[in-house]
Symmetry: C2
Subunit: 250 residues, 2 copies
């Protein structure tokens, strides 16, 4: 058999709450499941539990919607306090036809700025995206190294929609320890032709792979990818955000 | 250890040429590598070898460029016969700033209509996308079942760029035997809240996962994904193409 990559969930995590030590809880759940982390493992972590641990949540009942939010909420048949929360997370509204597509303060273009009701306890609470997902990834990797003695990489993922294609896929919104982008330009293919336009979004492919096991309803927020050969680098996922002036699609 | 998904390449495939029997060559390479296919395995196959086997290639020296192609080629500093080939594969030009972004006759929005120089023998040859990638996937799955006795699914992948995000990732352009889209709408999350907007593009996540092993220069055009639990369904990847009137991002 040729070398293979495997991925598996870390089962048995408790419901994550503000102030929880994610690294400690992850290490504990792994030990109970007889998972021993190895150098080079990549942990893909759903943004939802990062946001909860960091307290990036909002109680809608505390929000006073602006007139803009009230108007948009009416158009979209949504809760004006929810829309207000989305607008506060946004730098710019991209579309507001049936769903609010915005550019977040981080620069991500996604529905509802990643503000989300699902998998949050209580009707009144929503989660926001982490303030700085690359920093969250770096801190979690450092804390995991203290807990386990192993140098593991961390990718923080969220499910995004795409223009032109239906369905959501997991993408990387934060990363530490894996290349976000791998630039093959200047290398040659099997026939020695130069590969001209090939930059691979490796962190996004890792996130998408993990998405296969992160079934939303089952609640598997941490997936371990083992056997993927990579350099241990600090290459923030923010680098994947396409500068507006380089957007060939716009 | 919890259940895991593994993926690995089928090494040792020969250079694929027009008329080659891909199923036979794949089964042979697998046997030599001591890989025994299992029911439920998913083969992710790079579009390039499908196109070569089906003869979806063009000799640029046989192409007479139109005046439109000549003008575009000048603007983009590209070969007018290459641009002509791209235009013939396209229903519509989406952008032509630095790269030609088009909508192909299939409905895919991508750079250069998927027409590609890399990994093709000879400077004069380019590959086109397969005429009907879902049909190609179905035929390959059927032929593999004859060869191996196993019911394996097939996903045909290509690397696409994306608006707003840098880098390419592998997406599914053809599929047979796996769900292209999994609709979780109407199901409930752990807190019994309805998941309102969750349709997952599973075929795209499978393609992206395989992309981690399909290193372009190394030439690993077939990746096996084993252990992913799925129903064996006929759900064409064409279903992932977002109808223009449902495109919330445009």
């Amino acid at each position: 058999m040729p070398p293979s990559i495997s991925f598996f969930v870390v089962p048995g995590l408790p419901e994550i709450q503000k102030g929880h030590n994610l690294a400690e809880l992850t290490a504990l759940a792994a030990r109970r499941a007889k998972i021993a982390f190895e150098d080079g493992d990549i942990l893909v972590v759903a943004q939802k539990i990062i946001s909860k641990a960091e307290g990036s949540t909002v109680r809608l009942s505390t929000i006073s919607p602006s007139s803009r939010a009230i108007a948009l909420a009416k158009k979209l048949s949504n809760d004006s306090r929810f829309i207000e929360t989305v607008l506060r997370e946004s730098r710019r509204v991209v579309r507001s036809n049936r769903v609010l597509i915005v550019e977040t303060h981080h620069g991500f273009v996604c529905a509802n700025a990643g503000v989300d009701h699902s998998n949050v306890r209580g009707r009144d609470f929503v989660t926001l995206l982490p303030r700085n997902p690359d920093r969250s990834a770096r801190r979690l990797a450092a804390a995991l190294q203290k807990q386990t003695g192993k140098r593991v990489a961390v990718v923080i993922s969220d499910t995004f929609g795409r223009p032109w294609r239906l369905g959501l896929i997991n993408v990387a919104i934060g990363a530490y320890g894996v290349p976000a982008l791998v630039d093959l330009r200047g290398t040659r293919d099997r026939h020695l032709k130069l590969l001209r336009a090939t930059v691979l979004a490796v962190a996004d492919e890792l996130a998408a792979a993990a998405g296969l096991l992160m079934d939303k309803s089952a609640g598997n927020p941490i997936v371990v990818i083992r056997g993927y050969r990579h350099r241990f680098v600090h290459d923030p996922a923010a680098r994947i955000i396409r500068p507006a002036n380089e957007d060939l699609f716009r």
